[in-house]
């Protein structure tokens, strides 16, 4: 069950009543105990004295067996003192010589309190059922000889009555004190509660956002009155609710202008402070008002700063987000705290921040050693600039990138985190590679063209003379066969030389408007049957809106044939070859794609496939000029050829050619 907590009023009541009650009890209890002890002791002393007197006086009467006198002594003992309930005398043998009881002597009383030999008295506390009695026993001694024992029974009833009266008196006094304390407490409590409630209401107003609250009551006297000050420039002048040490910028000669906290301490030595201070709730109210004023001022400053920060934040956020490079912030472990959209795009993920065991900066590096080196540089130098490394995306792709980063260190030299920019330079590197390849191929082409040109003429002469000699030789002669062999190989050489010349664009090209789809279909028609016999399916997917290109139909068909044949050779058993076309209207380019499901091209091979005479086929089965010639033809047509291959999954060759301008269109299929 929930208990309702006591309010201040209740606590003041409880506190005052408890203090009075506790104080009263702390006084009453020891007093009661002391009084009871004193009364009991006094009574016991009196009883003991009486018993000793009886014992002393009864000696001769015991010896003289004067029972009358003994009886008189016993009776006088109880008559002389109201506390004495009984008295009796036992002789040496424990026989009762005299007693004050009527109707016989109580049997148990005879032996209940015997005095051992050598002891001068014995006191036993008895409960008769009707009253409590101290039985005092004193031996009657003559020298060392014992004549008997005198017993006095002292009732505690009178003492108890006295104690009870005392207790009641104290209880009434404590009750009166509690009543007075309650009334006084009520007066104090009302004063305090009224002011505390006012403060509470004001604090609720502040919580609701209303900072224009005033809780301080009107002052009875003010500094400007006490100081007889007429300086209207002083902010404390005319102030009726705030005492001067709570007002900033006061102009008293003794005032030291400081911030509020320091001022309030400095003011404690001022005589005005000593004269006016003392009301804690007043001080609390003024402090509260000062706090709300300060809060209001701070909030307005914060709002202004917030706006500035917001503008700045937006600006830098915009820069951050719109950067075409990856911008990131990490913690000391390299976990991404913030990363811009470009970074997410490069890395191929959206939720890259915050995860404790998620993708982090070290994971970006393809080689862990590379990251370790960079991290070491970062810690040593504080930054790295334009360091090229291989970036690994979430999907495992590798990109070439440049890293510029700085390291945030705390004063102790511990790493707090990293900030940096990663720039994706894969495309640039590819272009550079392509340029390099192009330069290499151009050099090779020039060299080949020179060589071919020099060889072509002798080969023509050799072929001419061989053919002349063949005419003169009978076909069945050995010489004829030898000459045929020379002719055959000379023709092979000539074919190679022509291919070299084609690569080096030294052959004549007749450019017309070509319907690429038709040209591809013609090539496919020739090879489809043969391929299907080998278990290779050939699929075509043409773009019906494919525009014509300006080029040499035969050379383009040769390109397609070369690519399809290469695809066929990459498929060892059954497979698929898909030839498709696509039009990129924005860039005015068409793409011929030849995709196979073959063995793919290893990375170390793929960079050399366009090199002349480079082949992976066994010696004698290929010249290594097919793709080189195709490359030359495509370049001759102003296009480019790319390859994308994945080992064991297949390759995709793309031939990108510029579409013929619409003005060049005449008849799409006229040249076929």
């Amino acid at each position: 069950m929930m208990r309702m907590k006591l309010g201040i009023r209740g606590k003041i009541y409880c506190g005052m009543i408890s203090i009075v009650l506790l104080t009263g009890l702390m006084i009453a209890v020891p007093v009661r105990i002391m009084v009871e002890r004193a009364l009991s002791q006094e009574s016991l002393n009196k009883g003991m004295s009486m018993a000793l007197t009886l014992a002393a006086r009864s000696q001769d009467f015991i010896l003289g067996m004067d029972f009358l006198y003994l009886k008189e002594m016993m009776d006088k003992a109880i008559q002389s003192n109201n506390d004495v309930s009984y008295s009796f005398l036992l002789n040496q043998q424990g026989q009762v010589l005299s007693h004050t009881f009527h109707n016989g002597f109580p049997v148990e009383l005879r032996t209940v309190n015997s005095v051992p030999a050598g002891q001068l008295s014995s006191v036993r506390f008895l409960d008769t059922g009707k009253e409590l009695i101290h039985d005092i026993a004193v031996p009657v001694l003559v020298g060392d000889m014992r004549l008997g024992t005198v017993h006095i029974g002292l009732s505690k009833t009178r003492i108890s009555r006295t104690i009870n009266r005392l207790q009641w008196t104290m209880a009434v006094l404590i009750g009166c004190a509690i009543l007075i304390a309650s009334l006084t407490g009520a007066g104090f409590a009302n004063q305090i509660i009224h002011r505390v409630q006012k403060l509470h209401q004001a604090s609720e107003q502040v919580l609701k956002g209303n900072l224009n609250v005033i809780t301080s009551p009107l002052l009875k006297t003010s500094c400007w009155v006490l100081m007889d000050c007429h300086n209207a420039q002083c902010p404390a002048y005319g102030e009726e609710r705030q005492r001067c040490w709570n007002v900033e910028g006061t102009l008293c000669p003794s005032c030291r202008e400081k911030e509020y906290a320091a001022k309030s301490i400095a003011c404690r030595n001022c005589r005005i402070f000593r004269a006016v201070s003392g009301d804690e709730i007043q001080a609390l109210a003024e402090s509260f008002d000062a706090m709300t004023r300060s809060l209001k001022h701070t909030i307005s400053q914060l709002e202004a700063s917030g706006k500035t920060i917001e503008v700045s934040e937006k600006k830098y956020r915009r820069i951050f987000e719109s950067s075409m490079d990856m911008v990131f912030v990490t913690d000391s472990q390299g976990r991404f705290l913030d990363i811009n959209q470009t970074g997410k795009t490069i890395l191929g993920g959206e939720d890259l921040t915050g995860a404790a065991d998620g993708f982090s900066l070290p994971d970006v590096f393809s080689s862990p050693f590379e990251y370790a080196d960079i991290q070491q540089d970062l810690i040593q130098q504080g930054f790295v600039k334009d360091l090229e490394f291989t970036l690994k995306t979430l999907s495992g792709n590798e990109l070439q990138a440049l890293l510029s980063s700085s390291c945030q260190l705390d004063p102790g030299g511990e790493v707090l985190g990293y900030e940096g920019i990663i720039k994706d330079i894969t495309q640039r590197r590819n272009m550079e590679q392509q340029l390099l390849q192009a330069d290499k191929l151009a050099s090779l082409g020039q060299l080949s063209a020179g060589v071919a040109h020099e060889i072509n003429n002798p080969l023509g002469l050799i072929l001419g003379y061989t053919q002349l000699m063949l005419r003169e030789e009978p076909e069945s002669s050995q010489k004829y066969e030898d000459l045929k062999t020379i002719e055959k190989h000379t023709r092979n050489c000539k074919t190679i030389v022509e291919a070299l010349l084609n690569f080096a664009r030294k052959t004549e090209t007749k450019k017309v408007l070509v319907d690429v789809n038709c040209a591809i279909e013609q090539v496919i028609t020739v090879i489809r049957h043969q391929f299907e016999l080998s278990g290779i399916e050939v699929h075509t997917r043409y773009d019906s809106d494919l525009p014509q290109v300006l080029g040499d139909t035969e050379k383009l068909k040769q390109v397609v044939m070369n690519l399809v044949m290469n695809a066929r050779q990459s498929i060892s058993k059954a497979g698929q070859i898909t030839v498709s076309t696509r039009y990129d209207s924005r860039n005015q380019k068409i793409t011929i794609a030849v995709k196979d499901t073959g063995s793919g091209i290893p990375p170390h091979v793929i960079i050399r496939i366009f090199d002349p005479f480079f082949t992976t086929k066994p010696t004698g089965q290929g010249t290594g000029l097919g793709l080189s010639v195709s490359y030359g033809i495509v370049k001759e047509h102003g296009g480019e050829i790319t390859v994308d291959s994945e080992p064991e999954k297949g390759s995709l060759f793309s031939v990108i050619l510029p579409a013929a301008p619409p003005s060049d269109y005449c008849h799409p299929l006229s040249v076929i």
Partner: protein, 306 residues
């Protein structure tokens, strides 16, 4: 708050506490009638109450216990309040063995046929003893017996030997008669008579007092006895005497007599008994040894029938 309540509770608990030990339950409703009877076959022994009962008890209790042990009889000390009562009890047969002064013996022998069978030897070694006439040491008006004339006199008892008869005989020897004193008074009340005479003179209530020799030592622990001056001593007369009731069984008497004669200061046990009783030995005695006392009684004019 809960600590406050605990403190208040503790105070209330303390206030409920009492300083007394827990009382012992006792039932006063069971009553019995009180009956006190003396043993009927007891041999009673009385010491003439020249001192208080307690002094008499202290002096003769060990002796009584000794006689009980030696004779095998149930001997019980009884305490007459006055000399007269002592004699009356002897006459009534309530006292079998009486230890009295010679004056009382002479009277009881005359009246009731008491028979003396032993006599004590005083601590001083004498068989006889004497009386003293005392006054305050600062009383300059009394220097001689002659000076006692017209003075207030207090004596122990009319039947006292050392405290009346012997010193009064001394006055008679010097021609001073009882009527020559301004006042003759005897110690009031029962017991303690010798001490009362000394205290009365010490207090200045009386000018002169008659006591037996040795009594001053009895009160030496209560008053400064240097404040008491002895004016004169009486002649020596027979000392205290043991007498027996005339019809006491001779066998009993014989045993008691033998036990008394057996007491010796050489025996440590007996020595304590004898020192307590203020004599050194008990010797045989016969009635004729007290004729000197009878003569003195005649001189002083004591009527044995009164």
């Amino acid at each position: 708050m809960r600590y406050l309540l605990f403190l208040i509770f503790l105070c209330l608990c303390c206030s409920a506490c009492t300083v007394d030990e827990p009382p012992q339950k006792i039932d006063l409703s069971k009553r019995e009638a009180v009956e006190f009877r003396d043993a009927e076959d007891a041999v009673t022994y009385a010491y003439l109450p020249q001192y208080s009962h307690s002094v008499s008890y202290q002096r003769h209790n060990l002796l009584v216990e000794y006689l009980k042990k030696e004779t095998g009889y149930n001997i019980r000390q009884v305490f007459p309040d006055t000399f007269d009562e002592h004699m009356r009890m002897v006459g009534q047969g309530k006292v079998d063995i009486s230890f009295s002064n010679p004056y009382v013996y002479v009277k009881t022998a005359y009246r009731y046929g008491e028979k003396a069978f032993a006599q004590v030897i005083e601590d001083s070694g004498h068989e006889r003893f004497r009386g003293q006439i005392i006054c305050r040491a600062d009383n300059q008006s009394i220097r001689t017996l002659e000076d006692c004339k017209g003075k207030r006199l207090i004596a122990v008892d009319l039947t006292s030997a050392g405290g009346y008869l012997y010193p009064m005989g001394q006055f008679y020897d010097h021609g001073i008669r009882q009527e020559d004193f301004a006042e003759v008074h005897f110690s009031p009340g029962p017991g303690g008579k010798q001490e009362k005479v000394i205290l009365a003179v010490y207090a200045g209530q009386y000018d002169i007092g008659l006591i037996r020799e040795g009594s001053l030592n009895v009160v030496a622990d209560r008053i400064d006895i240097r404040q008491i001056r002895v004016i004169a001593y009486s002649k020596f007369y027979p000392g205290w005497v043991y007498s027996a009731r005339k019809d006491l069984d001779p066998g009993v008497l014989h045993k008691i007599q033998a036990a008394l004669f057996k007491l010796s200061m050489d025996n440590p046990e007996h020595r304590a008994i004898l020192e307590n009783a203020n004599f050194s030995r008990v010797v045989p005695a016969n009635d004729a040894e007290f004729d000197s006392v009878r003569e003195l009684m005649t001189v002083v004019g004591v009527d044995q029938d009164k």
